[in-house]
């Protein structure tokens, strides 16, 4: 029996060699690239699942729209963390799939990941969602695009304020950062534009995707007497379904969640990435230079508002549509003084205006009067 271990070991070696050879064969067979030539090849990278009813689904819907064009080859990867893994995913899309343009869609992909990979592939376009691109500081083949979704939140706020019985609105928010604060403030300002005593209760969960805490926050807000709720987290799914279960109204965010809350989903602030991605694809096909910064709101078609639920009354629809028309014509200024924050301090003096593109708004660190909550954690 003493010879037996040797035998086993030899068999093992043989087996390993055979497995290796088989593997190499597999490798060889797969080296050919079957993608049709002449197509615009676009790679999309998502930080969460494609079907999250939120941030990632909004981008996936945009990707699906361009993928339908017969001159586009679009591919995507979901749940890619904001670590070195996204660098490898970008490189893999360029090297193995021949991507010409990449859309790494999560905010945290830009610095340091895109900034590190883009200079290594100067012929590839790296277009990032988030508006962080700075001329002269960042690689020439990088760019960014973003939408003023707070405009849609303003409209949703009007609908929420108009439909609320108690005049108390709820907002489940991820983190007290400028983008989120701006949505909360616009929502509140929208509601107060038609109902000046409206208030918004805010709960910050501390993270972008914390479903359990989001459900707890929603329940807690309902218990405090709010009767319309919205949110700014990666996936509004839990907030919407919890609101529907509790029998209150909700307004959506990122994409259309009316399926999740058919009774209570009044309207919602949605991205319209399909338009942005179609425009980019067209520019690349025609060989036009791709702009480094693409930004816009309702007027530019980058954001939209969900169709109103049938329960939304005619009077409220009219008020919301009037504001929408004003945005569409470019005549709307949300941040027009006098505006106080919720501690009573005047943040925008009477006679001062901050238009949508004003950089001052990008570093917002206050909550407008009528918001119940604090930016301090």
């Amino acid at each position: 029996m003493a010879a037996s271990p040797k035998l086993t070991r030899r068999q093992l070696l043989k087996g390993t060699a055979a497995a290796g050879a088989l593997g190499m064969l597999g490798g060889l067979r797969w080296t050919d690239q079957a993608w049709a030539a002449g197509k615009v090849k676009m790679g999309f990278i998502f930080v969460g699942p494609r079907d999250d009813y939120g941030y990632n689904q909004a981008h996936f819907e945009g990707k699906s729209a361009v993928a339908k064009l017969d001159w586009v080859k679009a591919f995507d990867e979901e749940k890619v963390p904001e670590t070195i893994e996204v660098q490898k995913t970008m490189e893999s899309m360029v090297k193995l799939d021949g991507a010409q343009v990449l859309f790494p869609t999560s905010f945290g992909y830009f610095d340091p990941h895109i900034l590190k990979v883009a200079p290594q592939y100067p012929t590839i376009q790296f277009l990032h969602c988030g508006g962080l691109y700075q001329e002269g500081k960042h690689p020439k083949n990088a760019g960014s695009y973003f939408g003023y979704i707070d405009e849609s939140q303003y409209i949703a706020g009007i609908v929420a304020g108009g439909m609320s019985k108690s005049g108390k609105l709820g907002f489940v928010a991820a983190k007290p950062i400028p983008q989120v604060l701006r949505n909360i403030n616009n929502y509140t300002l929208g509601a107060r534009s038609i109902r000046p005593n409206c208030t918004t209760n805010v709960i910050f969960t501390g993270g972008w995707s914390l479903p359990v805490r989001e459900a707890e926050a929603t329940n807690s807000l309902v218990d405090q007497g709010i009767d319309v709720i919205t949110c700014h987290v990666d996936s509004p799914k839990v907030v919407m379904t919890t609101a529907e279960k509790r029998g209150i109204y909700c307004t959506g965010y990122h994409c259309n969640q009316s399926k999740l809350a058919p009774k209570g989903y009044l309207t919602g602030a949605e991205w319209n990435w399909a338009k942005v991605y179609m425009d980019y694809a067209d520019m690349i096909r025609k060989g036009q230079p791709v702009p480094h910064l693409v930004r816009g709101g309702l007027k530019e078609g980058i954001v939209k508002v969900s169709d109103y639920n049938q329960v939304v009354t005619e009077a409220v629809r009219k008020q919301a549509d009037a504001a929408k028309d004003k945005f569409m014509s470019g005549g709307m200024v949300v941040y027009k003084g006098p505006i106080k924050d919720n501690t009573g301090r005047v943040v925008i003096a009477a006679g001062t205006e901050h238009v949508q593109t004003d950089m001052w708004l990008e570093s917002m660190d206050w909550l407008v009067e009528g918001v119940i909550g604090s930016t301090k954690s």
Binding site: P5, W30, M93, D111
Partner: protein
Amino acid sequence: MPQTLNKALEPFLIIVGSLMVSMVLFGVFVASAGADPFEVYQTMYRAAFGTTFSWQNTLIRAAPLMLTALCTALPGYLGLIIIGGEGAVVMGGLVAAIAALAIPTAPPMVVLTTMAVAGMVAGGLWLIIGGALRHYRAVNETISSLLLNYIAIAVLNHFVTSTFRDPESLNHPSTHHIGEANMIGVIPGTDLHWGLVLGVVACVIAWFLMHHTVFGFASQIAGGNVRAAQIAGLPVGRLILIICFLAGAAGGLAGMVEVAAIHGRANDTLNANYGYAGILVAFVARNNPLAIIPVAVLLGGIRASSGLLQRAHELPDATVLVMQGIIFLVILFSETLYGRFSRLQKQGVS
């Protein structure tokens, strides 16, 4: 000689056999999802090990797992199940970044050494909490180390949004950058940062410590039977604290590497679940530090192949999670096979 060979051969055969069974089960799963399992395996191979780029992709993902696996593997020698690797990574990364920012004018080598020491001490002290609660207060170490993860993440979020926040990090609260000059570079001729080497070296040192020193021997005795170890006069409490410190130090080092090689700052991306993936690695490697290296590479390869699976076969990312889950369950089941192969046992006796 045959005895030691058999000792190594039994787990080797059982683990390889388990992996084979897992592959068959996963193949059935893939087929039921409408994809050709052979093509899927070819794609996975191509994405994980097929080219130089694939290998680098795999190894770079394996690097942090080697260190975080030690967080679970080392306490395993004492019979402790510690799953606090995530917290150690987060604390290590945060404290390493703060340490670097405290000495802005020091030369890069000094900064990196300080960061490594600070990160390791922070991670080590973090896991010592779990070990101490276990030894002095009989608190279940698995639960406490798991809960410590959430506390660590909360501590990180608190400091990067307040005391140590770079005011320019508007929409992604982070600490200041540690400076490009202080970043860990890549291994010449590759795309891989030096974290991989640190991972391999740490695993080898851990193996030597646990299998070839008196300290390791004492730990194994204490892990086998605490009473017996105490009667024999072994300082069980001290062993627990030291092992937990070393385990946490490995995780802290992983956090330091994330900051110094990739991000340049500490922020919420430190919480990338490397700590949890490390538990799986330690488990499949049966807590053996040397076995951690190939298992981490295997898991890195599985993670690396996810992307191509999604793009070439339109399978969801969860596919590779299913594969990891199947491997985990089959390995768990295979635990019952040890000592059942009489051929191996008899040879062991002879």
